[in-house]
Subunit: 624 residues, 2 copies
């Protein structure tokens, strides 16, 4: 193919010196030059090809990463690259690999927490890659919560050793990159026990696999935790699971820069701040923010379910009218379905991703079902009409509706509220206490006033442009916001209407009421700027709405699981280890891990070609 | 494993009748019963197993889908399921398949747009699955923009046929599900030409493949468009590409319910609204909202680059102090890095996904590079500390800082602004014209006032609780918002500081100034509720900020490509067909499509076992 540059015109029109900007971006001329040189080195080497990744199976992907990481190391040696150059080269190889953890976590942990003596013994082996290390902190039941770790390291004064042990299933080390199939050593974080006393979490260097044949050492169970989010992504890496059955290590493999255990088993603590010990990983504690992230999503599920029911009715109604050659409601119905498609698919895609993040690391495993759910759902935001484009259609319809308000043509259906525009433009919300936000008419009028005022403001701004189309293009972002306000009003009003119906069953209606107000007040808080800038509510009323929202969360809390049970999904349909009906997640997570294809063999495919020559320092002779 | 229910306690505590709620959720008792029965039927059938999907290669996944879809059809026949039951069964099989398009688009298109005669001919074949249909509307260069379609259907009065043709590369049909390897027929949307006159887009039934051996008919080029987002997801399906080289079809295969072409080639149009013709797919037009979605991301990239530079300096500074046993700045540095980690990783993950959606359907193809980028990046929101948990740490530090304000202990580093708390609590923003928002001090003080007031408000609310920990838990959502306000202030202030430096190169500094204000004013608009509810700005000033933002977008527009060029990424590093330096995207998208493993053979693996027996009505005898 001949050389083309379809963007040459864009580049010629730029009003600044792009070469100078490259240096600003890189941080310095030196950084720019190193980066540029390493980027080109990687791009020109066929071993570092990466365009075929989505087509590779899990095993092929992993083996290919072993090849790339080993080849990168070979090039670093051959070209005698500096540490800075080597680090940039690895950056541009751009494939998560065991080497990231070796250089980024294992080596710094020994540097930061090891004594002089320990550094002299272990660092040269690590620098030459005669050993490969990983960083084993996180456990199956304990994410970044270091204080909750369960693994123990008990000092045995008889043999001058520590006994590393995993007392429970949840104490299994879980997630460490490079652990699953490759690392020969790990820095393991465990509770230090001397003479029956628990001294908190400390780091220990533990050998995991034989340096001769790569088989796990006695008492060590190790494997990969399974397939992860994305086609390639972190599936290039062997995030691992690790259990210890009374594994013994010499006393001098405790990282002793900060605290020591003496030959007699005495614990000696320095007065250096504890943050230093976990310097490699940020130290965190768990809090209760989940409700404010999860319950609005639960409420949205019910809200969308009911607006969906109503849409079915609308569809039947419009179809019957069309049969009778009555096209009068078609534009309104079209704007309404377009807007609701946009609103619900965007909220749902974002909601799935939010739920995935709420599950912490486990939500990134395919066995959680959430990555699959997201990937299947998210194209709905694009297909059958991009969501933003659809909202602009809604906005166009709203602008037309506003422009006809004076003409005597009465707005119909979901735009009927525009008929009382004069009232909505000047009405005052009369909320004085948090409970006032639980009145259907207060909610409805507040949402109507916000939607009406935003549409009218857009119409007024549009009228300032000489050409309507120019104005529409220029103000498109504001028009989209007005359309969203209108669509949210539809969902809220249909939920309120549903509550007017008779709904049998003990407590059912009360729960739906709580969910309806959660949905509305969550939107009010999320779009507070809209409500305040249009003067629909005061800052004080916004704050009261937030207070009411918090108390609704407490009200829904005991019913949360049962509200999800009501969806009546089978475990098969959900396909999620975390979403199981019985809540028995940890044993199932553990069980699923072993199904990863990488766990088919103890020594992974690629070990003999790539890893062994590296460990044995025979890379120069190797054909990669 | 014995039966467990770890959630029994939750279920016992629920305050409503979950069986009644199930019926509310399903919509009716009947809908509940059908759904429940079909869900159980699917869950209990081993052919419908889906937990192994992430482990299957593309070809295995696809073949497995053929098996499932065929087995579902066999069960529907064997059990004589009603249309409603069959539709629920397919829903619970929960695997995107060619049958979705056959039943959901092909059949409805013929029903809605075909004449009585056409329906009588084609629907029985489709209902029995003696033919398999798809819906070929979208083209490589034209997403949901129906008016832009290029495929032509030219009437030839000599033979009473239409000639279907793809005049350009961008007119290739692109995305239709089921098209790639399976469909025997398609409803194809093409511009109708009679006697040299273009009558706009109409639908035509076109046979694509032989019903004997499944090979594509003469003049038809057809294949799969490649691997898509997600481990399983839509990779179970054969989204396809289709080109016509003067393919002839009989005149009676134009869908003629709404418009007709006579034997003489006369075009007869009915007066039914055009919306009906595209009833199956929402009808859209393209607008200019891209700038307001893309430019804040571009500005964020530069903002994060510079705050990153500053963080490197901070890290060195803290390390040097620690060496000298000075721990005084450690808590502030810890809060600052934790907060910035949270802010930048969340914004970046969301930004990648936003860019993906901005590319429309093409962003969902792996060849765009965006799915991979998202999957690799997004775990950063969780690892090394969940982002919300980190923000709560920042909030805790802020509350401590506020509580010590009276004590004479001076706030340091990034919290130094709290030292002028009295001023910040009562200062008034003096913006009167849009251009006033381009003053660094105005921006800085507005962001400082917002952050300070939100922190103080939280502190005041906390003091109302009897126990600080209870208050902290209860108010956590507000505390997170205060922490975000503080972190955004840091990023904005470091960007403003960068602009104080000397920056060489023609126009470089001007561009960075524009980006800095875009970043700040975009945040101001996004968090307008914060700024208004704390009284930092008036609604009028918020509206002026938005006006200024729009004019900054116009200012950056001619420089957008060059500002990205300055990142100096190689095409290899980006790994994106859409992000190519030369902008030559369509030929490359087309070229990449053929690399999909499904395109290795013309007739896909699984055709003989599953598809042919279905088409030939020999399913009862088939072993699936």
């Amino acid at each position: 193919m001949e050389e083309v540059d379809h963007l040459a015109h864009e580049r010629n029109n730029a009003e600044f010196d792009v070469e100078a900007m490259k240096i600003v971006w890189a941080g310095s001329k030196h950084a720019y030059e190193v980066s540029d040189r390493m980027a080109r080195l990687v791009a020109s080497d066929p071993v570092f090809r990466k365009d075929n990744r989505p087509m590779l199976s899990r095993k092929e992907l992993f083996k290919n990463t072993l090849r790339k990481a080993t080849h990168a190391w070979k090039r670093i040696i051959e070209l005698r690259l500096s540490e800075e150059e080597a680090s940039r080269l690895r950056f541009y190889v751009d494939e998560p690999a065991f080497t990231d953890l070796h250089w980024g976590m294992f080596v710094p942990a020994i540097k930061g927490q090891g004594t002089e003596e320990q550094q002299q013994k272990w660092l040269p082996l690590a620098y030459k890659m005669q050993i490969i290390g990983c960083y084993a902190q996180t456990e199956l039941g304990h994410g970044s919560n270091v204080q909750g770790l369960e693994t123990t390291a008990t000092f045995d004064p008889n043999t001058d050793e520590f006994v590393i042990h995993s007392p429970t299933l949840t104490s299994s080390k879980w997630w460490p990159g490079g652990l699953g199939k490759i690392s020969t050593h790990a820095v393991v974080y465990a509770r230090l026990i001397t003479d029956g006393q628990d001294h908190g979490v400390h780091g220990f260097i533990v050998q995991l696999r034989s340096l001769d044949d790569h088989s796990p050492l006695l008492g060590i169970t190790v494997g990969d935790i399974g397939v992860k989010f994305g086609n390639g992504a972190y599936n290039t890496m062997d995030n691992g699971v690790l259990r210890f059955d009374h594994v013994r290590i010499p006393r001098n493999q405790m990282l002793m820069r900060v605290s020591q255990v003496t030959r007699e088993g005495k614990y000696v603590q320095s007065d250096v701040p504890r943050q230093l010990v976990y310097g490699t990983m940020v130290y965190v504690i768990d809090y209760k923010t989940q409700q404010s992230r999860l319950f609005p999503l639960l409420a949205s599920a019910y809200a969308f379910r009911f607006v969906g029911e109503w849409l079915k009715w609308l569809y039947t109604d419009v179809s019957q009218r069309l049969q009778a050659n009555d096209f009068s409601t078609l534009p309104e119905a079209h704007a309404c379905t377009a807007g609701l498609k946009s609103l619900t698919t965007s909220s749902t895609a974002d909601g799935i991703e939010e739920c995935r993040k709420l599950c912490g690391g486990h939500g990134y495993l395919c066995s959680s079902g959430l990555p699959e759910l997201f990937a299947v759902y998210v194209p709905a935001c694009t297909y059958e009409g991009d969501n933003i484009v659809l909202l602009l259609q809604v906005a166009r319809f709203l602008m037309k509706t506003v422009s006809q308000l004076g003409s005597g043509k009465k707005p119909v259906g979901t735009t009927a509220y525009m008929g009382k525009i004069e009232h909505l433009m000047q009405c005052q919300c009369d909320v004085q206490r948090a409970e006032d936000w639980l009145k259907p008419n207060v909610i409805l009028e507040t949402f109507e006033a916000r939607a009406a005022r935003m549409s009218v403001a857009c119409a007024q701004n549009l009228s300032k442009f000489s050409s309507p189309e120019e104005g529409f293009a220029e103000l498109s972002a504001n028009l989209v916001e007005a359309a969203i306000a209108h669509c949210q009003l539809i969902v809220v009003s249909k939920f309120l209407e549903k509550l007017q119906q008779e709904i049998p069953g003990k407590g059912v209606k009360e729960q739906l009421e709580a969910l309806c107000y959660i949905y509305a007040l969550y939107l009010l808080h999320k779009h507070l700027g809209d409500f305040l800038s249009t003067g629909c509510i005061t800052p004080k009323q916004g704050s009261l709405a937030n207070d009411q929202l918090r108390s609704l969360y407490s009200q829904v809390r005991p019913n949360a699981i049962a509200l999800v049970d009501a969806f009546n999904y089978t475990d098969h349909y959900l396909g999620s280890v975390l979403g199981r009906y019985d809540g028995n997640v940890y044993p199932k997570l553990y069980e699923e891990a072993w199904k990863d294809p990488l766990n088919d063999s103890v020594v992974p495919d690629g070990y003999h070609e790539y890893i062994r020559p590296m460990l044995k320092q025979r890379l120069r002779a190797a054909r990669l």
